[in-house]
């Protein structure tokens, strides 16, 4: 190699490493009381039911795409998924009625509805108006019955695209979701059919019927009123019953 002369020159370098950690955050807040009471102590209430408008308001914030669903459950259901019944706490009077009241007797209505940034969830949501009470009373397949998981714990999201496997927002498939965002930066309440929404108003209805057989309870495919799943003449045992509605916000998957 031939010899070469070298010249000084200004040449220097400094390095900085920039790291960034994005922690996934899903926040669901309920700004309303966590106990909703239905007290049926008048004949008209048994026939027409009780509707609680705006009983639950949900606000969501998420840094990732997400789905939201409601899951109806009880102590009995959590123990045995096939026991899709309210928990009987107190019985009034003679024990001559049915204490296994179907969880699907609880109906939900949501606003806004049809919130999905991708493929529509074929299991539907709770956007339909409550079905009118037929006269005379008859088992009615409505479109608002709460989702109750069939063969697994209540945490399992509605996976099968079938009636009653409803989401409030997003859906079962990875292509059904709501984009990450927050109600904090929403400038207006979303309308029905919006791609994304982070603020939901939930109404509840229970119609015991007269006799109290809960004619609107159904799985989406079949009625779960007390006569259909039991025998003619069955009716609900008077008393106090409780169930749990869990609102679950999960990362889209």
């Amino acid at each position: 190699m031939a010899g070469t002369s070298t010249f000084a020159q200004i040449q220097d370098e400094e390095n900085v490493t920039v790291t960034m950690e994005l922690v996934p955050i899903l926040q669901l807040n309920m700004n309303t009381p966590d106990q909703v009471n239905f007290v049926f102590d008048e004949i008209a209430e048994y026939i027409g039911g009780i509707t609680q408008y705006g009983a639950t308001i949900l606000t969501a914030s998420s840094t990732v795409s997400w789905d939201l669903f409601a899951s109806g459950t009880s102590g009995a259901h959590a123990a045995v998924p096939a026991s899709r019944f309210w928990d009987a706490q107190v019985a009034y009077g003679a024990a001559s009625g049915i204490v296994d009241l179907p969880l699907t007797a609880l109906e939900l209505h949501q606003f806004p509805g049809d919130i999905n940034n991708g493929l529509a969830n074929t299991g539907g949501d709770y956007a339909a108006q409550f079905t009118a009470n037929p006269n005379p009373q008859a088992p009615t397949l409505g479109a608002n019955n709460i989702y109750v998981s069939a063969a697994s714990a209540y945490l399992a999201p509605p996976a099968v695209a079938a009636a009653n496997n409803r989401y409030i927002a997003g859906g079962a498939a990875p292509l059904s979701f709501v984009e990450g965002g927050s109600y904090l930066t929403q400038t207006a309440v979303a309308v029905n059919g919006a791609l994304n929404a982070y603020y939901f108003v939930i109404d509840y209805r229970i119609v015991p019927g007269l006799p109290a057989v809960f004619p609107f309870a159904n799985t989406g495919a079949a009625s779960e009123d007390l006569v259909t799943i039991g025998a003619a003449g069955d009716y609900a045992q008077p008393g106090v019953y409780t169930m749990n509605v869990k609102y679950l916000m999960i990362e889209n998957q």
Partner: protein
Amino acid sequence: MRSRFLISKNLTKHQLYKSLYIFFLVFTAVNASYAQPAGCATSTSSRCDGWPLSKLDLDQQAGGSMLEFVFDEISDYTAGKTLYGTSILRVTASDTAGGGDCAWKLRMIVNNGGAPTPNTEWLQTASYGSSGAQVPIALLEVRVTNNCATSLVNGTWQTFQLAENGGEIVIIDDGSFVNAAGIGGCGGGQTNSVGSYLTSFGEFAFVIDYRVRPFYNYTPGKYELNIKFCISEDL
């Protein structure tokens, strides 16, 4: 590239062929193209003194040479996070030959380590999920300031041009024109002459701020970028 090497007369034919074969492989390897991390280019002119008479010093205010952005609250994602004055660059430029033609250039280069990381993305070092988009280099913003506003990008938030591996932000560059430092104050323009932060901090020191405003819908995880600050006579 041609090269000459001495062939020993004592090599057998077999050994000669073996030697040639090995040399060919080495030659081929040197000329093969690999995906390289981005780096500082080498100066081609020599008008200033070299290191340590001329140098670039980085003063990191906290955390050493590592800056950390942690987003673990919704408000962080929306408002972003800014690290003010975390890096301070201090320039010393010397020309003992006294030719008066010493002019330096200063720039920042972003480096994501190269392949297999896609060219426009941060290097992902840990994954916390699968949904969302990959984080683009364009998410990182940088602001350079000094008291004499010598940089053309002084005081404004910048992203790297181009927002990809090797993208750069030019802090000081006025071609070969020498903008002399001020005497007792700012000289005006893009000061790039001999001088030192010790005697003219407002012209030879640069305060670096960093900002990230992610908003939503990026894949959760840990990410990393390297920023190189390069001083040289040529860009």
